[in-house]
């Protein structure tokens, strides 16, 4: 197991290299000139040229990439073209906000989504099943920014219970995490329902009932543990996505996380910032996947890693 984890961690290196190469090339294919953006509309061609030289963008692309890798080897992602602050520092300042939001959103989503899915599966085609499946459909279809704005209208403007945006107290985190959770909860509820429906028709569930177990135990112990694999998969994927920055939600609620950082950086053609942030996203995604794979083995003894 330990060896497996080491192997997986080593294998992240080529993946991240691949990401960085693709990213490097694609960024430079984007229309828009970072030097021009930075220098402003009024700058003379000479001034733009000076900035281009400062950014190192006048060198051939393979030289730029080699320099980038050389710095990366020392865990140096360079400095932001926009703020001149080290990229690492900028990311580090926002990462906790993003992680906090993602963890809260995924926890809320599991807390409501899994029980809702179970109840729907236990009573298929009942009113409660219809309620769960139709709410899930609404949750998936509703645009996040619209839901966010509606929550702001109700809870901040009308009721004045919660702040409309920003950070500072636990109150600030309620609306953005609810907004994000409403989307994720729908996925989790649907996956739980279909996975449980399948498991509940298995023979071992009948065996568990034939032993004289309480129905609640049959469902929460014998059935749920078998239904967990697909649920964990969805939770992992969604969590990875949330860590990749919830751009819209962070924008609506003026939440200083990685999502807004990457959007601002893209608009400013801030290459080092974009590269750094995306690499961090990639790393987080790979780590989440590794953790998910390890949880599989805990839940299902048939899964073993060598």
């Amino acid at each position: 197991m330990f060896q497996y984890v080491i192997k997986r961690l080593i294998s992240t290196v080529p993946v991240l290299l691949g990401i960085s190469l693709l990213l490097f090339v694609m960024l430079r294919m984007l229309p828009g000139d970072p030097a021009q953006v930075l220098a402003g509309q009024m700058a003379t061609p000479e001034e733009v040229e000076v900035i281009r030289h400062q950014l190192g963008l006048d060198r051939p692309i393979h030289v730029q990439y080699a320099l980038f890798l050389a710095r990366l080897a020392h865990l140096d992602l360079g400095r932001s073209a926009r703020t001149q602050n080290p990229v690492i520092q900028e990311i580090w300042a926002r990462l906790p906000n993003t992680v906090l939001l993602a963890v809260l959103a995924i926890s809320l989503a599991c807390l409501f989504g899994i029980p809702a899915g179970i109840v729907a599966a236990v009573r298929p085609n009942s009113w409660i099943d219809y309620l769960v499946t139709s709410s899930a459909l609404v949750g998936i279809s509703m645009p996040v920014f619209w839901l966010g704005l509606m929550l702001v209208v109700v809870f901040s403007v009308l009721l004045q219970w919660l702040p409309a945006g920003g950070t500072g107290s636990w109150k600030h985190v309620v609306l953005p995490s609810l907004t994000l959770a409403s989307f994720v909860v729908a996925f989790i509820a649907r996956m739980t329902r279909s996975s449980m429906l399948e498991v509940l028709s298995q023979d071992y569930v009948t065996t568990a009932r034939a032993k004289g177990l309480k129905e609640l135990w049959v469902i929460t112990k014998h059935a749920l543990k078998n239904a967990l694999i697909p649920i964990i998969t969805v939770v992992g994927l969604q969590f990875g996505m949330l860590l990749g920055g919830a751009v819209l939600t962070e924008t609506v609620f003026a939440w200083p996380g990685l999502g807004r950082l990457i959007v601002d950086s893209i608009l400013a053609r801030d290459y080092p910032m974009i590269q750094g942030t995306i690499l961090v996203f990639g790393l987080l995604y790979i780590l989440v996947n590794l953790v998910v794979d390890l949880i599989y083995a805990v839940v299902d003894p048939r899964i073993r890693y060598e």
Partner: protein, 326 residues
Amino acid sequence: MRDGALLAIRDLRVRFHTLEGSFYAVDGVDWHVERRETLGLVGESGCGKSVTALSVLRLLPPRTTEIQGQILFEGINLLELDTEQLRRIRGNSVSMIFQEPMTSLNPVFTVGEQIAETIRLHQGLTPKEAWDQAVEMLRLVQIPSPEARAKDYPHQLSGGMRQRAMIAMALSCHPQLLLADEPTTALDVTIQAQIMDLMLRLREEMHTSIVLISHNLGLIAEMARRVVVMYAGKVVEEAPVRELFHDPLHPYTRGLLGSVPWIGRKQTTGRRRLQEIPGIVPGLMEMPSGCRFHPRCPEAKEVCRREPPPTIHRDDGRRVLCWLWA
């Protein structure tokens, strides 16, 4: 039927509600099991044997099935118990083994835990005591190094070992009645013999009554004292095992016996083809009129097509559902 029967099923009707309508999978079945007796329940797939067995512990999905009639266990009608009372009987005084040991054990719990769970539930032992008891049960069903096997998951055991573990689980609370639904069908022949030997031995040791459901007549001949033959949701014949094999009354039973390959038959009875029963068991939606077996029956008469046959109780205690004996 005697009053002292351990389990008596009276006029059992099981109806499935489906999208295409409602159908009786079991339609007026009567039989009983005496204490310490092994009853064989025989019939083709789809004749209602398993449904009857599952109804005893009310294991059919309650929202789509309707059970009518009486299922008397020690005089108590199981169909009238509330869920709490029923739970105290399930796995405790009546337990069940299923056909497919691969799928009827839960893949994500150890074999020991699955057995110990039943013991904890019904005998109120501590987890440690229940675990030791589970290991003892595995030893009893002759699983080698039971301490180690108890910690194994079902996928780590062979098919025969899994069925032994199922039996250990079913017998862990010393039930008075064991419902064994095709317990050896999924196993290969040598393992089948071992499992049957084991069941025979445990029956003697634990004084458990067994309802053995099988389409394997050889198995029934070896294990059962009395046999009930079912066809299309009805009991068509009941007889002590010896009489049934020597002198089957119902044409369906004769057909079943004729379709068993018999080694050595050639010498004594001359060259005889292995027989088959033409056609298949009718679906629940297309039950024939009159006698349900008449479209496949070589001796069908006009009356068989028109009217359902009466149950004939003979003086020797046998019964048969057929116009031939009316």
